[in-house]
C-alpha cells in the first residue's frame, strides 16, 4: 500500500488563525499535498478550504472574521427561556453558507482528490 499523507486539524476557535498560517506554509511554501484532511470544530471550517486548496480564502477568513460574525448573545429573558443556548450561532451558519454554500466552490470540493472528514457539534 502506498504511503498517504494526512493533515489533522484541531479545534480551538480563534486559534484556527494559527493553523491557517501553518497550512499556508505547508501547502504554498513547501508545496505539500494531502490525501486526507480531518478537522474538528474550527478545524472543520479549515478542512474544506484545504481540500479545495483555497488557501487565500482560508487566510482571508481568519484575518477578517470577528466574534459577532460567529455568534451573538441572547441576553433577553425570552431567549433564555425558549432557546437551547445562551448564544445564537446563526451568524456562523450564514458565514458557512457564504463560504461553502456556493455551488462552484462545493463542486470543486466534491471533485477534490483529497478525502475529507469533519466532526462538529449540532448547530
Amino acid at each position: 500500500m502506498a504511503n498517504k499523507r494526512a493533515l489533522v486539524l484541531s479545534g480551538g476557535g480563534a486559534k484556527g488563525a494559527f493553523t491557517a498560517g501553518v497550512v499556508k506554509y505547508l501547502m504554498v511554501e513547501l508545496n505539500l499535498q494531502f490525501d486526507l484532511v480531518v478537522g474538528t470544530s474550527t478545524g472543520a471550517l479549515i478542512a474544506p478550504l484545504v481540500a479545495s486548496q483555497d488557501i487565500a480564502n482560508l487566510v482571508h477568513f481568519y484575518e477578517n472574521v470577528e466574534q459577532q460574525d460567529i455568534l451573538k448573545d441572547r441576553p433577553d429573558l425570552l431567549a433564555f427561556l425558549f432557546s437551547d443556548a445562551l448564544n445564537d450561532t446563526k451568524p456562523l451558519e450564514r458565514l458557512i453558507t457564504k463560504f461553502f454554500g456556493d455551488r462552484r466552490r462545493y463542486e470543486k470540493l466534491i471533485r477534490s482528490l483529497t478525502e475529507m472528514f469533519v466532526t462538529v457539534v449540532n448547530m
Binding site: N31, I55, A56, V59, E63, D69, P91, D102
Partner: protein
C-alpha cells in the same frame, strides 16, 4: 365570574407569548462577516500580504529597506522586472522567491486558466505589479501598526 376573569388572564398571557414567539422567529441577523475572495488578483494579494508580513515581522531593517526601495519598485512594469529588482536586493531575495511561489500557487489552478493564458499581457502584468506593490505597502503599514501577530 371568577372563572371568566381567570380565563381572560390565561388568554392574554397566551397572546403575549405567541407574539413574543413570532417576533423571535422573525428576528434577522444582519449580513456580516467577510465575503469570500473570487478573483485571481484578490487571492494572490492575500497570499502575498501574509508572506510579506511573515518575512518582515520583527525585522525592522528589512521593513525599512523594502520601504526605501518602493519608489524604485514602482517603476517596474512587469512581474519579471519587479522580481528581478527585488532579487537584486540581497536581504529581500528570499521575499521575492516567496512572492513568486504565492503567484505560481494560484496561477497553476484550473480555475485561473484565463489568467494563465494571458499572463504575459502587458495590461494584466501592470495590474498585478500595481496590486503586489499596494499590498507590500499595506503589509508594511500593518507591521507598523502592530498587526500581523508576534
Amino acid at each position: 365570574m371568577h372563572l371568566r376573569t381567570s380565563n381572560i388572564a390565561i388568554l392574554r398571557t397566551g397572546i403575549v407569548i405567541m407574539i413574543a414567539c413570532i417576533l423571535a422567529a422573525c428576528e434577522t441577523t444582519p449580513d456580516v462577516g467577510p465575503e469570500p475572495l473570487g478573483g485571481f488578483n484578490e487571492k494572490v494579494t492575500t497570499l502575498v500580504t501574509t508572506t510579506v508580513r511573515g518575512r518582515l515581522r520583527e525585522n525592522l531593517p528589512k521593513q525599512k529597506l523594502l520601504e526605501a526601495q518602493l519608489p524604485s519598485l514602482e517603476k517596474t512594469l512587469t512581474m519579471n522586472q519587479l522580481m528581478d529588482e527585488l532579487k537584486g536586493i540581497d536581504p529581500l531575495k528570499d521575499l521575492a522567491y516567496l512572492i513568486e511561489t504565492d503567484i505560481m500557487f494560484e496561477l497553476q489552478k484550473p480555475e485561473h486558466h484565463r489568467e494563465r493564458t494571458s499572463f504575459n499581457n502587458p495590461e494584466i502584468q501592470r495590474e498585478l505589479v500595481s496590486a503586489i506593490l499596494a499590498v507590500m505597502k499595506r503589509a508594511l503599514d500593518q507591521l507598523k501598526g502592530g498587526k500581523g501577530g508576534k
